[in-house]
């Protein structure tokens, strides 16, 4: 007949085994897939060819509503939510904002300066007189993303913050579906 203390001790061992097994399973399942030096976000990048950012901004009407891929350097990221990043052509300094749905894709703030490929639907947002005024005010205060998503994260102007690049009263951005950020 087994003593009560011995039974308790055996129960403790069972729990330890359960814990060790659980951690082993978690470690196996949660181990990051080795994808070289790149990290993929959302659907990643599916298009083989990128459109040069300069070409995109010079001929926006040719691309509005179409799925495009752009390559460049990340020069800005939404500080609080990681809900957008700006991809800039290193030669010309022209950039386009990649806006993603809050929480669905989160770009790390510390990825600034890294090379990225990003794709999604290219959009043109016409700025209202109030937005143009706000941009002028923010330009003086250097307040990054001052009115980012002012009308709500799902509004048509979401992501057209004060510092989003604008050309002739339009903010051009990509509703991002995925991206690959190089290490």
């Amino acid at each position: 007949m087994r003593a009560p203390n011995e039974a308790k001790f055996r129960g403790g061992n069972d729990m330890k085994r359960f814990l060790i097994l659980s951690f082993a399973v978690i470690a196996t399942m949660a181990a990051p897939v080795n994808a070289g030096d790149s990290e993929s976000y959302g659907d990643g990048v599916t298009l083989d060819e990128a459109v040069a950012i300069d070409v995109l901004l010079e001929n926006p009407n040719d691309y509005v509503g179409r799925k495009v891929r752009v390559d460049g350097v990340i020069t800005a990221v939404c500080k609080k939510r990681g809900c957008w990043m700006q991809v800039t052509d290193q030669e010309s300094g022209n950039g386009v904002r990649i806006k993603v749905e809050d929480g669905v894709i989160v770009f790390p703030y510390t990825s600034m300066g890294r090379e990225a490929q990003a794709e999604g639907i290219f959009e043109a947002i016409k700025l209202t007189p109030e937005q143009i005024e706000a941009r002028t005010a923010a330009a003086h205060s250097h307040e990054e993303g001052a009115t980012c998503d002012k009308d709500g994260p799902k509004s048509s102007s979401a992501g057209a913050g004060c510092d989003a690049p604008a050309v002739n009263e339009y903010v051009y951005m990509i509703r991002g579906t995925g991206a690959v950020i190089k290490g």
């Binding site: 399942m29 020069t75 609080k80 600034m112």
Partner: protein, 183 residues
């Protein structure tokens, strides 16, 4: 009687198992609820430095000159001339925004906010994959905790009296709020 014992045992074991994660999620919940007031993920520190008038040159040369004048011995991730009067030098978790040619530098350091970055990473499910499954299991666990918790106490302090009214009050608050604000 057996059924109540099962309810109590289930509530106890699931409660123990998820107690730690509940505390982490609660901390993160408060942190991200107030995202408009602070940055729950990163501590960002800004300093302004004057490095003096800079010569003309390629972005890489200008970046190296700025780093040299600031005594920073680190290879930049990238250097981008955003426009004629602005150069950005990207270092690991640090960005220098240089006004050209005057040499006015805004030095921005970003570091992960200790503990909050990690709990927010879990709570907002930035990792996806395995964590999505575990978070789903946690949600089911909470559901079981709520359902079993209701029936642990019997009598006047349970569903026969005080418990019932508290349950109704707790349910009423979100519905009244929705009725006033959304519907």
């Amino acid at each position: 009687m057996k059924f109540r014992r099962l309810i109590i045992a289930t509530h106890r074991d699931i409660g123990y198992f998820f107690a730690g994660l509940t505390v982490l999620y609660a901390i993160s919940g408060v942190a991200v609820n107030h995202i408009d007031d602070w940055n729950p993920n990163y501590v960002i520190r800004r300093e302004v430095v004057e490095v003096g008038v800079l010569p003309f040159g390629e972005p890489a040369e200008l970046g190296a000159e700025v780093l040299s004048r600031m005594g920073i011995n680190e290879n930049p991730r990238s250097v981008v001339r955003m426009h004629r009067e602005e150069l950005k030098v990207f270092l690991d978790q640090r960005t220098l925004t240089v006004t050209l040619p005057g040499g006015h530098v805004v030095d921005e350091h970003a570091r992960r906010r200790f503990a909050f970055f990690e709990v927010n990473y879990l709570h907002l499910n930035h990792g996806k994959g395995f964590w999505t499954w575990f978070a789903d299991a946690y949600a089911v666990g909470l559901l079981i905790l709520a359902c079993t918790g209701i029936f642990i106490i019997t009598g006047k302090k349970g569903m026969g009296g005080r418990g019932r009214w508290l349950l109704i009050a707790g349910l009423a608050i979100p519905f009244v709020y929705l009725a006033l604000v959304v519907w």
